[in-house]
Symmetry: C2
Subunit: 426 residues, 2 copies
């Protein structure tokens, strides 16, 4: 544990000091040119490369402690920093260096009738608090995205990764300093005390936004307590609707990919809706593929009647994010019934229609109220890289501010700029 | 009081019913064309015009009850619906009809390397709750802006205006119905029970955003309780900084206008900062004008030494939004000191620099972290009409989502749209 805390048992005042320093560092970052931010990112990458053995040693300590605590193999795997993963951290930094800097862009600068010029300038959000779980590579990713977009960051990582995170943060600090930037631009909550999270979430004078990254439990806890705006997504209950005007083969291909490409990601399809006119044909083609892939099927009465492999779905199934080889399937009467199902059970993450009917596609795109709405495409495309944003810090199902994959632009806001020449308002 | 509540004493379940109906109405509004929304706005204007005597009678009742309750003359004036104000309500509706509809705009639609097309579509926020105080004309303004931007609205007006608001809402309902839109698109909390506000603020499943309009007390109460995102501004502690490279005459004109044009609006200057190099000259020209206008001056030591009319300012003065003929003035050493003062005491609303120095203007614009940052211009320009947005529903000092004057676009969000032709993610 860090000296600051040894000397001061009060977590709240420690966190407040971090917040205050972050605000100060933000004022420097907000006027820092892209070139300097990129130099810092490059220096962090170099420092990580040169500190491989230190990072590995620290990570070994975390893994040993994790094994002693009885962490399961999934968690241990997330925690492990293999040589490939260390390479990937450095590589990620180089990718973020190459992304265009959104800060400073001025748009819609126009003269108004009064003679003043009014426009909008893109600026950083300010101080961002990131609260995350066991993956230590988040430390670098999150810090780099925030730094490039001109924000100061306070990182609160998982308890299990404390040694790895300390080693990585040392590289970040070294990189910042070698580029002449304040070390406080990226700070790390250097304690495993759980009270630190509560203190962060109440620091409304210093922190502008909180981004939780982790499981649903973490995100719910953060959202309930935070007095600061939170950029988050809770659930990814994603739907594919196969319309009666669908090209069935495309529908089968899209649905199969949306479910099986990866089960554990938030863009995975959890419920398939099929128009009753094409249910029999679609199921006859799709179910054998799913069964072969080891996917368990739960269906409405009509699905159970059509596919022997399907067990009856309960009401809970329609509202569950399985993140597993499990799929609920429902036959619906028409597009309206499909959209009503999505409005009722969906989580506003990503929903897709498969249809060749232009009017149906148009209605689905207009009326489905989700962060990503798709036509004839797999929901697994919901991702910052696939959308051309470069790296992403997460996916937001918020309605306000940023919605969908959050890249650099999502970490900024706009302010109005007004330019006159002694203009006064009549 | 409305029948629904007589039959059901439970306010929470009444508010929940409003929320559920609003969500249903939103699904219709979200697919409604501009032409139909405009037809409804026109019909509401007609209905208001035809219901003048009913509105006036209802308003007289509110005014009488207000007088009995001992409301002061400012509040009674806000409450009064004169013939001119009724004209202004109808006129406001026609102006909103003429504004372009932001909904449906698709931007940045581009092919990605995978072959999918990704873009963003502008869509309504959903259900907006408006909580406001005694001005009954807010009922029409707020409902019209939300309707035009495709949102369903739940209005909670001031207790003192309940009769006026009922009469106005009857016109809104008639207008909606005559255009074939659901009456639930604009609903009114038809009770003066204070618990209704708390119930609204907890309705996170049905309401997407809350906009409080009123005094600081109302907004603080709403922000503390709401579990729903709030678009708000608390304080308008606006600054003008007169730099040593300023054209002093322009500085004096801008500062005088920023303070005296109207005292009670959030864009009024509350603190003037002056570079020490031009303090004597600026004060010698500005102070007599302020004194003549009846403005009381509170200053730092240097100001008190230079201007006999100034009383010493306390630390509280720098953090106070006077909204009155009162001005605090401080002499600063340089631009950095001015920006540090603004960062410490400002409220992130609107701040202006007066300077002819391009580098200083550039630094001020880049580094001052407020919703509007101005050069050589009066802070009183901070206004949706002056910025070319048309009508505004308020000014936001939030960092996330909308910042500065909030017009139709601020009442919308964007979702990603993704179009493929059977594309699956590798």
């Amino acid at each position: 544990m860090n000296k600051a805390i040894e000397n001061n048992s009060d977590i709240t005042s420690y966190i407040e000091r971090l917040g205050k320093s972050a605000k100060g560092a933000f004022r420097v970052l907000s006027r820092t040119e892209s070139g300097i931010k990129n130099r810092a990112l490059g220096a962090i990458a170099d420092s990580i490369d040169q500190s491989r053995s230190l990072i590995s040693e620290a990570n070994q300590k975390d893994l040993e402690q994790g094994r002693e605590k009885g962490l399961n193999s999934t968690l241990l795997d997330r925690l492990a920093l293999t040589d490939d993963r260390i390479d990937a951290m450095a590589e990620g930094l180089h990718q973020i260096m190459m992304l265009p800097d959104p800060v400073g862009e001025i748009t819609d600068l126009r003269f108004q009738p009064s003679g003043i010029q009014v426009g909008q300038m893109r600026v950083p959000l300010g101080v961002i608090g990131i609260i995350y779980e066991s993956r230590p590579n988040v430390t670098v990713d999150a810090a780099a995205l925030c730094l490039k977009s001109g924000n100061a960051t306070i990182l609160r990582g998982g308890t299990e990764a404390i040694n790895s995170n300390q080693a990585i943060v040392a590289c970040i600090t070294a990189g910042l300093e070698s580029a002449g930037l304040p070390a406080d631009a990226v700070q790390f909550v250097d304690t495993t005390d759980r009270e630190a999270v509560g203190a962060l979430l109440g620091l409304e004078h210093y922190i502008d936004v909180i981004i939780p990254r982790g499981g649903k439990g973490l995100i719910e806890r953060v959202s309930q307590v935070a007095r600061i705006p939170v950029i988050k997504h809770l659930d990814g209950i994603c739907h594919v609707y196969i319309d009666d005007y669908a090209d069935i083969d495309k529908g089968v291909r899209v649905a199969f990919n949306a479910k099986t490409r990866r089960y554990g990601i938030c863009g995975a399809m959890e419920t398939l809706l099929i128009h009753r006119g094409v249910a029999a044909e679609t199921l006859s083609k799709l179910v054998p593929l799913l069964v072969e892939a080891g996917v368990e099927i739960r269906g409405c009465e009509q699905v159970v009647a059509l596919a022997a492999e399907a067990r009856p779905a309960t009401k809970e199934d329609w509202g569950t994010e399985y993140l597993a080889p499990l799929l609920s399937i429902r036959v619906v009467d028409d597009l309206d019934a499909a959209m009503a199902h999505i409005a009722h059970y969906g989580s506003g993450h990503t929903d897709s229609i498969v249809t060749q009917h232009l009017g149906r596609a148009k209605r689905f795109i207009t009326e489905v109220d989700s962060s990503s709405v798709m036509v004839n495409t797999s929901t697994q495309f919901a991702d910052g890289f696939e959308y051309g944003l470069g790296a992403e810090i997460g996916i937001s199902t918020n309605k306000l501010h940023v919605r969908g994959p959050v890249g650099l632009k999502g970490l900024t806001t706009q302010k109005y700029i007004v330019i006159g020449d002694g203009h006064i308002r009549p």
